[in-house]
């Protein structure tokens, strides 16, 4: 992923470690007595990583570029610089999957991917799933099975599920659970997410959802 800005992007290992050390010192303050304020002072005087670099990448088939903070994550670049806010920021440390995007064909947590590391890459986000005004079958299935409530985890789940279907046309329930085990939903839409993936891959859903769907009278969705 070499670019003409390699020199600007190089971060000295020493400076990086000092930066980390500063963070630790600032948070690891004593439990008893008067805290040593010199620790905080030392932290603030440590060198921090700064500066901006241009990053160019292809997002959903479109070439885009922005000059971003060296430390900016791909997630923050998508959301703040490119206003592609479908990809969500939730845990910001690779634990919940809400920021999942496809980077050069593989799903990654965009919150733990630096924007500079995505320079020159091809990225697919939730905004790219709908093609020419037509929903991807997994999106359609999510609506029909009500595989979402608040919807904040939905983009991450959809990317994980779509990527699963790209590699496995008929995943089993266990494989679906495996593919989405890095995604968390707080509302508890899981059973309907499983059914949506089963439907999108032309398989029988679990009994409960079928019971609900069988008596569907009207479709209020667009």
């Amino acid at each position: 992923m070499a670019t003409k800005n390699d020199n600007e992007k190089q971060v000295s290992r020493r400076g990086f470690l000092q930066g980390i050390g500063g963070t630790l010192a600032a948070t690891a303050v004593g439990v008893g007595g008067v805290a040593d304020a010199t620790e905080a002072e030392a932290a603030s005087s440590l060198p921090t990583l700064s500066g901006s670099v241009p990053v160019a990448l292809t997002v959903n088939g479109k070439k885009v570029a922005a000059t971003v903070d060296l430390r900016r994550t791909l997630l923050e670049m998508l959301r703040t610089d490119l206003d592609l806010t479908g990809t969500k920021k939730v845990c910001d440390r690779g634990a919940c999957g809400a920021c999942t995007v496809v980077l050069n064909g593989k799903t990654v947590f965009s919150c733990t991917t630096l924007a500079i590391d995505a320079d020159g890459a091809t990225v697919e986000t939730i905004e790219g799933l709908e093609k020419n005004g037509k929903l991807h079958p997994i999106q359609d299935a999510f609506i029909r099975h009500d595989a979402l409530m608040c919807g904040f985890c939905t983009p991450g789940f959809l990317i994980s599920c779509k990527n699963l279907l790209d590699h496995n046309a008929k995943p089993s329930l266990e494989q679906i659970k495996e593919a989405c085990c890095g995604n968390l939903c707080r509302c508890g839409a899981y059973p309907n997410i499983f059914d949506a993936v089963l439907t999108a891959s032309g398989q029988e859903t679990m009994a409960n959802a079928k019971q609900v769907m069988a008596s569907a009278k009207k479709d209020g969705a667009k």
Partner: protein, 744 residues
């Protein structure tokens, strides 16, 4: 034709900070009706949510997603200490950093910090990265003071004082005494006693608390905020921004979870508004994950030391209990015993214990999941001690006809007779054992009052808008209000659009205490009824036809007895602007309380202690159902959160550091895909129901108790404290020593 006439007084439930509270209110004395179930076309039908498309394409804008030109990013410096005094704050280095637009101290030198996460100072900067740098450049000197974060320690007489001696660590939470407990215990056939405990949880809303505040050049302000109450938030923002209420608009089109923790701006909203004002630019301030977990609310712990007795017939005769719990520096009250049993002889005292942790907040059925576990575990032990099947024991003690039926239905669905283990802990054929458990629930189900309004507008092009100042937490409010209007007008639902999520819309309540549907649905129904009446009056006038000759036919066409006009043709005859009609909430469209029964089938590995839930069955009623599909989703969600309460979720507060050790989403364990069992939702639908009920909270209540009871039935391991970890199961089986760390 006005539908509003005389008034009457009724009792109803209103949320007070998310806790349903019974109050007497005055309402219009009108009898309105949802009609017969099978006449309803859209109301109740299992239709996908209307905002599904926006949510699956990433178009749905949440507060976190608002980007405005010139917008700054706010951040908050929080106390790293559970208890400390601020000696000095030096903002100069932060202020001098390029890209920092504002730094100010939320608390000044001399102020007391009462929990790790307490707000100290605020920053507005050009980017989130710069804001974070600036937080680290703020120099704070603290006098660190002794803290206490464990409720058991906080109750001791020599414990560090949470409020520095201004008030004690323990407050009286009230007591209930009826009958003669000692005499009843003396004559009881069977008694059990022990201590049961539940952990604290955090709401873990995926979208953290926060706002975007934008002052406009004309002195008004727009506020996007992740809230369960657009109107309540507007009142509060108006107060703290010293702006007339009419000069601001609070917007919440989509929100990423609240679960009881998002009823107002909070400190972070106030900070955001001040930064926006002082910088003269819009500011976005969303909490980071640690701030969310430590300061934005939690569900209190609940502990009871109790004794229960039963007579020879297997009837519960008395319960005695000393109950306490901590909500950090906030309240920690809960009821004990849980209200599914009618106990004649009671002696219960409650205490709220304060600790140096973030304040608790209402969390989906505040106090009830805790109360259910403490009560239903004890009752289950009593059943076993009496030698009676736990389900039969419940049926003996159950007083609600409705729940007796639900228990029987649920038992058949889970296969209780075949699956109940008659000899828990004995005769196992291998290390993996299976069993079943159950528990019941009740909830108020009501809500609303005569202040609550909705508006229905019919335009001359035939399009209809239903507008109400409510919010959709993922519950489907935006969707079902269309169904009500389409049914009332008899038109295709495609004509009807929803407008919600703004404080500029007709007043509606907070989404707490399961009161949203019983508040919103009747108001919308009355507005639609009024719109129908206004529409016919206007049409009669426009067509010079007698009003009584006009009838609305199914499909929305209008007949005068001779010829018919289609809906769109009829609407073309309306005067300019069409029809704008309002309706007021009506008590006769609401009913409660509601009931439920839940069953769990679990598998326990007696060598590793691992518990796996195989199946959950829920039987739940809920009055007139608005949307069968969305209700089922919400019930699924309740059970899954209940499963997290039972097995995985726990806020771990460390007494050494005074901090939450798992203020993140990898160590605070929400149930993930692999924890999800088969879930069977059985809607106990009453075809004759006359009112709507709120069902959001009831399903989360008994799940943990049902799972815990199933763990015992499977393995003989009676785990009296949540969450049921492998270590606790092994300890209960006598295979390892119990870890007392949590009880200090």
């Amino acid at each position: 034709v006005s539908l509003q006439t005389k008034t009457k007084k009724i009792k109803t439930t209103m949320p007070v900070n998310g806790i349903d509270t019974e109050v007497e209110i005055e309402v219009p004395d009108i009898v309105a009706s949802w009609g017969k179930k099978f006449d309803r076309e859209y109301v109740g039908a299992p239709m996908p949510r209307v905002d599904g498309y926006d949510k699956v394409t990433g178009r749905a804008k949440y507060t976190f997603d608002i980007n405005l030109p010139g917008m700054l990013f706010g951040a908050i410096l929080r106390s790293p200490h559970a208890k400390a005094k601020i000696l000095s704050i030096d903002l100069s280095k932060a202020e001098a950093m390029p890209g920092v637009r504002k730094a100010y101290a939320i608390k000044d030198a001399g102020a007391n910090l009462r929990f790790a996460g307490d707000e100290i100072a605020a920053i507005a900067a050009d980017s989130p990265e710069i804001a974070e740098d600036a937080l680290r450049a703020i120099l704070v000197k603290y006098e660190v003071l002794p803290h206490v974060v464990k409720e058991d320690l906080a109750r001791k007489t020599d414990a560090p004082q949470v409020f520095g001696g201004q008030r004690p660590n323990v407050s009286n939470g009230g007591s209930t005494q009826r009958g003669d407990v000692d005499a009843t215990f003396g004559s009881a056939k069977t008694t059990v006693s022990g201590e049961w405990r539940t952990q604290a949880r955090v709401h873990a809303c995926l979208e953290t608390h926060g706002s975007v505040v934008q002052y406009q050049s004309d002195g008004t302000a727009k506020i996007w905020t992740s809230t369960q109450a657009v109107h309540g938030s507007a009142d509060q923002f108006a107060g703290l921004m010293k702006l007339e209420r009419s000069k601001l608009e609070v917007i919440c089109q989509n929100m990423g979870g609240g679960f009881g923790s998002k009823f107002g701006p909070g400190v972070e909203g106030a900070v955001c508004a001040r930064l926006a004002k002082e910088c003269g630019r819009p500011v976005k301030l969303m909490l980071d994950r640690r701030g969310e977990a430590e300061s934005a609310g939690n569900s209190p712990t609940a502990i009871v030391q109790a004794k229960l007795s039963a007579n020879a017939d297997g009837k519960i005769t008395a319960i005695q209990g000393k109950a306490f719990g901590t909500g950090g520096i906030g309240g920690g009250g809960f009821e004990y015993p849980y209200g599914v049993y009618k106990i004649d002889v009671l002696d219960v005292a409650r205490e709220n214990v304060f600790t140096n942790l973030g304040p608790s907040n209402a969390m989906r059925a505040p106090g009830r999941p805790q109360s259910s576990f403490l009560t239903e575990s004890g009752v289950d032990e009593l059943a076993v001690a009496c030698g009676i099947d736990p389900l039969a024991f419940r049926l003996t003690n159950e007083t609600a006809e409705k729940r007796i039926k639900q228990f029987k239905t649920g038992a058949a669905a889970i296969g209780w007779k075949e699956k109940v283990n008659p000899t828990p802990g004995k005769n196992a054929k291998g290390p993996i054992v299976r069993g079943v458990g159950c528990a019941g629930s009740t909830w108020g189900g009501r809500g609303g009052n005569g202040q609550m309004k909705a508006e229905v507008r019919i335009a001359t092009d035939g399009s209809v808008v239903v507008a109400v100042g409510t919010q959709d937490l993922g519950t489907g409010t935006r969707s079902y209000i269309r169904s009500i209007v389409a049914d009332e007008l008899g038109i295709d639902i495609k004509f009807v659009k929803s407008e919600i999520g703004s404080s500029k819309l007709p007043v509606s309540g907070a989404s707490g205490g399961s009161t949203t549907t019983p508040t919103v649905a009747p108001s919308v129904k009355m507005a639609a009824t009024q719109a129908k009446s206004d529409f016919l009056v206007a049409l009669a006038s426009a067509t010079k036809e007698k009003l009584e000759k006009l009838t609305l036919l199914p499909g929305g066409s209008v007949s005068n007895g001779k010829k018919t006009l289609s809906w769109t043709d009829a609407c073309k005859r309306l005067g300019p602007g069409g029809i704008v009609s309002q309706g007021t909430w009506n008590a006769s469209l609401v009913q409660g309380p509601i009931h439920g029964a839940q069953f769990a089938e679990v598998e326990v590995d007696t060598e590793t202690g691992k518990v796996r839930v195989k199946k959950l069955v829920v039987v739940q009623d809920g009055g007139v159902i608005m949307n069968r599909m969305l209700l089922t989703s919400q019930i699924n969600g309740g059970l899954i959160q209940g499963l997290g309460f039972a097995l995985t979720e726990e806020r771990i507060a460390c007494q050494n550091t005074g901090r939450m050790m798992n203020a993140n989403l990898e160590e605070y364990k929400l149930p993930g895909t692999r924890e999800i069992p088969e879930i069977q939702v059985i809607l106990d639908e009453d075809d004759e129901a006359i009112g709507v009920s709120g069902v959001a909270e009831a399903p989360v209540i008994p799940t943990a108790a049902a799972i815990a009871n199933a763990v015992f039935n499977a393995s003989g391991a009676r785990v009296r404290s949540l969450p049921i970890t492998s270590a606790k199961v092994l300890a209960a089986l006598g295979k390892v020593k119990a870890n007392k760390a949590n009880n200090a």
